[in-house]
């Protein structure tokens, strides 16, 4: 296209080639909206995503407590944040919570989703019940579980053989366990829904053919269902990763980052710095670290999974 323009004869030429060229580009772009179509979305994106991001980047080089005007302090916030053991720990914790979320929720929701896609008795009723946690706000869910897990009046008091003294929020491992459990409880229904839809879309002929070939239920699951769900797995995993990296309300309400700083994940740490300590510069720096980390992780996932060249899983059908 560009080469054609530059090689076009100068003003001397007649009008015909120009007309032909425009006709040509018209046919080439048939069915494709022009740039104008993207203007509203692009503007929206610029105003609400790029502009704030740039402002946060600028703010990360400033000292500002919300009063008076921000003051440039060079790399001060960055050296503090990158040197801060709590920050380093919070990144690992964030990754841990994210990985735990993916590792627990993916198998659960695939199984539930595939099951819910079937035609069994009572399936519809049970699916609705499984779906309920998703309808509740994260805040409500967290308040609910905090009360249910009270060591003296909640579930642990009734099951001391399992929970011991019930000090779930007093130790790092169990506090993280609670966070993972509560997000699993809340978000598995959503991913189940994705897999249910995807499993329903798998053509029955595949299973019929497999049955004729003598494949049992397990083989059908591993050799037809799972491969067919591949694209949904990637979609659902990306959503889980983004959700995991930005986990906030559950920490705020369930553990407040404690005991000590043992569940202070990055998003919560950013909130603490910016909105509790009014150190907006450091908060902005943490936010940027999160942006970079999230970017790297999603790039890796996209590369590894081939999301960017996602193919149909039904070739030849």
């Amino acid at each position: 296209m560009t080469t054609e323009t530059t090689s076009a004869p100068p003003a001397a030429g007649s009008r015909t080639p120009a007309r032909r060229r425009s006709e040509g580009s018209y046919t080439a772009h048939v069915g494709r909206p022009g740039f104008a179509w993207a203007v509203p979305a692009t503007l929206f994106f610029l105003i609400f995503a790029i502009a704030p991001l740039v402002m946060v980047a600028v703010l990360s080089f400033m000292s500002w407590n919300g009063l008076g005007s921000p003051r440039f302090v060079g790399m001060d916030n960055w050296s503090r944040v990158l040197d801060d053991p709590v920050m380093i720990k919070s990144i690992w914790l964030t990754l841990l919570v994210t990985v735990l979320g993916v590792a627990i929720q993916t198998p659960l929701s695939i199984l539930l989703g595939v099951w819910a896609a079937g035609q069994q008795r009572n399936r519809a009723v049970l699916s609705v019940i499984y779906f309920i946690p998703l309808l509740l706000s994260s805040t409500a869910v967290s308040v609910l579980w905090r009360a249910l897990l009270d060591p003296n009046f909640g579930i642990p008091a009734q099951a001391t053989w399992l929970f011991g003294d019930g000090n779930l929020f007093g130790k790092q491992a169990s506090a993280i366990g609670v966070l993972a459990f509560v997000s699993t409880w809340q978000f598995t229904p959503f991913h189940t829904l994705i897999y249910q839809g995807a499993a329903r879309a798998i053509p029955q002929v595949l299973y019929q053919a497999a049955e004729i070939d003598g494949a049992g239920r397990y083989r059908q699951f591993f050799h037809i269902t799972l491969p067919q769900l591949r694209n949904s797995v990637v979609t659902s995993m990306i959503l889980m990763i983004v959700g995991g990296l930005t986990t906030f309300e559950t920490v705020l309400i369930l553990t407040q980052g404690g005991p000590g700083t043992d569940t202070t994940i990055s998003a919560y740490y950013m909130y603490q710095k910016a909105f509790k300590s009014f150190d907006f510069g450091a908060g902005a720096a943490i936010a940027l670290v999160l942006v970079v980390a999230a970017t790297i992780i999603s790039l890796i996932v996209v590369r590894v999974s081939g999301y960017d060249k996602m193919r149909s899983s039904m070739e030849g059908l």
Partner: protein, 434 residues
């Protein structure tokens, strides 16, 4: 094409976070003036006490040409929201605060009006309040706040029935406390309920033990920037006493999973599963609401035990001295504001506060103590606060807001053994003092 498609993904993850930060950045602007609609705006923490504030504003408006308007910010985010609006055109003329560190950043930013001129006009604006309370809103030698609600000293509450069963009395000294803990543990009762999950209830133990061992001076020094105070022998003594108490099992083993704010730790005391709880004076009203029978029959209260050989007076108290009204420098109607503040020691104000269970800290409060819903409790508290040589504002309110999280983390980590005395001392020395 490929790059363009990837770009949104690159940014989307962080955009949400970025938004939260930058939205508040947008709101800051360049100061501006108090909104001048010919009225004074009074901003208060939105809760049940607003009833009185509404009444006082109505009284004020009856006689004043410049009318007052009451604005409220409900919920626990008051300080956050206040800090984001105080330097904008939406800033109020007069606002509610906790004195001490909660207003220090505003004083440093030169936003507040020292009330010395008001006091010169009308000395009662100072002399009509209990000094230990009034002084907690003094920053750098200047008064910035007028007490406007009730005082909330921290007291040691107990379940009298549990104590009777175990044959013990509320402890008067630290040694008695330790032996009481032992006895109660032997009876299978958690000696002391602690909402460690909220962190600030744990801090109350530090405040009292430090005061009893070292006197109020140690903390004043540390707050003033003399960080070596945290390494002093008194500081180490206080920490070893706290450690001894925790190790003796005084709080049980799962206190970090218990919260005060969801009613779990008061329920432990009300149901007889625990004997004591150290808590602000609002505990009394809380128990009356949550466990009426217990509040009427078993709920007892005492001062914090004395420590023999300690430098602190056993009559010292800690807690929330009161809430305060502070005035913005840029208010357009200082005369009206002064007139409004004078109502904070009026009989009407005191009576209205008493009626809703608050205990004001004016000198005329004494006259009305018998009109309160629980006169014995009101007398006890008032005498305590009036006679206290020192009323230490809670540490997390005496320090500027940036220190709150580190303080809370340090006390929690010390109680659950994640850091030792040296770790705690280091954490406290790292606190920003301004």
């Amino acid at each position: 094409m490929k790059i363009r498609a990837r770009l949104p993904r690159l940014v989307a993850g962080g955009a949400t976070l970025a938004l939260a930060l930058s939205l508040s950045a947008c709101g800051s602007g360049t100061g501006g003036g108090s909104s001048d609609d010919g009225k004074i705006h009074v901003l208060v923490y939105g809760d049940a006490s607003n009833k009185v504030e509404k009444q006082i504003v109505a009284t004020f408006n009856k006689t004043s040409d410049v009318k007052a308007v009451l604005d409220t910010i409900p919920g626990a985010d008051y300080q956050q929201k206040l800090q984001t609006i105080i330097n904008t055109p939406q800033a109020p003329d007069v606002f509610f605060n906790w004195g001490g560190g909660s207003i220090q950043p505003f004083v440093k930013a030169d936003l507040l009006m020292p009330l010395d001129d008001f006091i010169k006009d009308d000395p009662a604006l100072k002399s009509n309040f209990l000094p230990s309370v009034f002084n907690s809103a003094v920053v750098d030698g200047k008064a910035y706040g007028i007490p406007m609600r009730g005082t909330q000293p921290v007291l040691l509450f107990n379940n009298g029935n549990v104590l009777d069963d175990a044959g013990v009395q509320p402890p008067k000294t630290w040694d008695e406390l330790l032996s009481t803990v032992k006895t109660l543990k032997g009876k299978g009762v958690t000696p002391i309920a602690l909402g460690g999950g909220d962190q600030w209830p744990t801090l109350m133990w530090f405040e009292y033990v430090y005061d009893r061992v070292a006197g109020p001076e140690l903390f004043e020094k540390a707050l003033g920037g003399e960080k070596s105070a945290w390494e002093s022998p008194e500081s180490k003594k206080a920490l070893s006493m706290l450690k001894e108490l925790v190790d003796a099992g005084a709080f049980g083993t799962n206190f970090d999973s218990v919260k005060y704010t969801n009613g779990a730790s008061p329920a432990l005391v009300a149901k007889g599963k625990a004997a004591f709880e150290l808590m602000g004076s609002w505990y009394y009203a809380q128990q009356q609401q949550d466990a009426k029978d217990f509040a009427a029959k078993g709920l007892g209260y005492t001062t914090f035990p004395a420590v023999s050989g300690g430098k602190g007076d056993q009559a010292d108290v800690v807690g929330n001295t009161n809430n305060f009204y502070s005035v913005l420098k840029k208010t357009k109607h200082p005369e009206a504001v002064e007139k409004f503040l004078k109502l904070m020691y009026s009989d009407e104000f005191v009576k209205a506060q008493m009626a809703i269970g608050n205990l004001p800290t004016t000198t005329n409060t004494e006259k009305f103590l018998d009109t309160s819903a629980s006169p014995a409790y009101s007398h006890f508290q008032y005498d305590l606060v009036k006679k206290a040589p020192s009323f230490q504002l809670s540490w997390d309110q005496a320090y500027p807001p940036s220190a709150i999280t580190p303080i809370h983390q340090a006390v929690q980590q010390f109680f659950n053994g994640q850091i030792d005395a040296d770790g705690f001392i280091k954490a406290m020395q790292a606190l920003p003092t301004e």
